[in-house]
């Protein structure tokens, strides 16, 4: 697939998010952490809430469990998503403790369950952008 053929919304990396998207492209889940033993953060920020320290980037496991999910059946915008439905979007609670977003793939929408163990998958959509997805954990 060429970049010009990709019709769905694409992230516009910014100074806060560029390390995350660089990591995605390299097949690594890069997230922020407030200190070596502190809480993990998503989405990226410039200041740690509360402590106001500068967060550090670290690689996360990419393992977690399904916190909540939706099954999109009615495509919006129709011209972009008509061929995609049904698809699943989830909030995943990572093993590191923070939540992040991603599509659920390699799993029928009806088979997604609360707390289901998942692992990250790197969904390359253009040369520059790889989106986070999750599939049922394979142990």
């Amino acid at each position: 697939m060429t970049d010009t053929a990709y019709a769905k919304p694409l992230p516009v990396p910014d100074p806060e998010s560029t390390p995350f998207w660089d990591g995605m492209r390299e097949g690594r889940l890069m997230l922020q952490r407030c200190g070596a033993d502190g809480p993990w953060l998503f989405p990226p920020v410039t200041f740690c809430p509360g402590s106001l320290d500068r967060p550090e980037w670290a690689e996360a496991s990419g393992r977690g469990s399904v916190f909540s999910w939706i099954v999109v059946r009615h495509p919006v915008p129709r011209d972009i998503y008509a061929g995609e439905v049904p698809y699943v979007v989830a909030i995943v609670e990572l093993a590191e403790g923070c939540r992040m977003t991603g599509n659920i793939v390699d799993c029928a929408p009806e088979d997604v369950t609360a707390g289901m163990a998942v692992e990250i998958l790197f969904n390359r959509v253009t040369e520059a952008i790889t989106l986070p997805a999750f599939r049922p954990a394979r142990g």
């Binding site: 019709a7 919304p9 694409l10 998503f42 999910w69 919006v76 698809y87 909030i91």
Partner: protein
């Protein structure tokens, strides 16, 4: 906390028709609603010196409406960047502005071509900036898709089911059926609800509100002045605005919100009731922001009508019907009257407290609750006659 109990009142209300295609500019809708509210109060444009609105970059600026109406001195002309959270906020802001001496009589409006123009339920820019870069590229774009993610958590945490949401949808439709302003007046049975197609699981079509063109406006002035005007004043007893921790980067974003089984109302309940000096048991009629069926449950639970998790059983068996212990959304709500971003709820509350609601009047209604917002931030008012 709001400290102006009973000092300010809603003296006039006005609405346009609610349609799918107004064929008009948003500004002209706003002006029509404002002029009707001013006339309803028994005032003229020359009496107005403040104008407040809220929008999502989808409406007419307050100064434009002031200009079209020919307000001589629109000293306090302000637009709040707000969504569903805004309806009560701007009404409280009008009272605050008058208290501060910035104006004496303020008209508040919300106007939108929400079906024929900019559709809040529609798509987004294909370039996803800010926090949207973690949502839209996944195909997580619309507000029904946002709130469905919340609703699923209530099902997981508390066993809430579509039976509960069906009760809400069909009750509100029953109210709309006898409301001449309502866009959807065709009766809806439980079967109709369950036969409506899934839009985004767990939401069916009838869990999701309407899209509407139209405008609503109210006139706010001092209680003292309101007593000399055309209608019996509807006093602003109390109000609150806000939410909890981590309200997110925008109104869609709730990735860091502590629990999607409750929303902002849990956090503003104490301020609301304390400001008014009453409690949930004192409310005769409640107009709850119902962009989705599920959001009604979070408002009822958060504001203390029942405990968190008990909202589903609470709404069953006629309790929220016009003849029940807590009549809700007597106009049909956003689900069946129209989507004027919750400002139509304020209009309905005022009509109920005036005793002007016709066939859908709740007999003896003295205290009304209005809420606005469904996610991490919102606003609410307690009104009385």
């Amino acid at each position: 906390m709001y400290k102006l109990r009973d000092k300010y009142a809603i003296a006039g209300i006005g609405t346009t028709d609610y349609t799918k295609f107004s064929g008009r500019t948003v500004r002209s809708l706003a002006t029509e609603a404002c002029l009707k509210a001013i006339a309803d109060a028994g005032l003229s444009v020359g009496d107005i010196d403040g104008i407040v609105s809220f929008n999502f970059n989808d409406s007419a600026p307050a100064i434009g409406v002031a200009t079209e109406m020919g307000i001589e001195n629109a000293g306090y002309a302000v637009d709040y960047a707000a969504g569903g959270n805004g309806a009560n906020l701007i009404t409280l802001a009008a009272a605050a502005a008058i208290e501060a001496g910035l104006a004496e009589t303020v008209v508040c409006f919300r106007a939108m071509n929400g079906r024929s123009g900019f559709r809040l339920g529609g798509g987004r820019d294909l370039s996803a900036y800010g926090v949207t870069q973690y949502t839209a590229p996944l195909g997580w774009i619309t507000y029904p898709q946002a709130m469905a993610m919340w609703a699923r958590r209530h099902m997981i945490d508390y066993g809430t089911t579509a039976e509960h949401w069906a009760e809400i949808a069909t009750t509100f439709r029953d109210n709309a059926a006898i409301n001449p302003r309502a866009m959807q007046r065709t009766p809806m049975s439980k079967d109709d609800y369950f036969n409506s197609r899934f839009i985004v699981d767990p939401f069916r079509m009838y869990d999701i509100c309407l899209e509407s063109d139209g405008a609503c406006a109210v006139v706010v002035t001092s209680a003292e002045r309101a007593r000399d005007l055309r209608h019996k004043p509807v006093y602003i007893m109390g109000g609150a605005y806000g939410g909890g921790p981590t309200q997110g980067d925008d109104l869609f974003d709730a990735i860091r919100w502590p629990s999607h089984s409750h929303n902002c109302f849990k956090y503003l309940a104490d301020d609301l009731w304390n400001s008014a000096g009453v409690g949930p048991q004192d409310v005769d009629v409640a107009e709850i922001y119902d962009c989705f069926t599920y959001s009604v449950l979070m408002a009822l639970e958060g504001l203390g009508f029942c405990k968190e998790g008990e909202g589903g059983p609470f709404v069953m068996d006629g309790r929220i019907a016009r003849t029940g212990a807590l009549p809700l959304n007597t106009h049909g709500g956003l689900l069946s009257e129209a989507y004027i971003h919750g400002f139509n709820h304020v209009i309905e509350a005022v009509e109920q407290l005036r005793g002007h609601s016709g066939e859908r009047q709740i007999e003896g209604a003295e205290i009304a609750l209005t809420t606005a917002g469904a996610m991490t931030c919102g606003s609410a008012m307690i009104l009385r006659n």
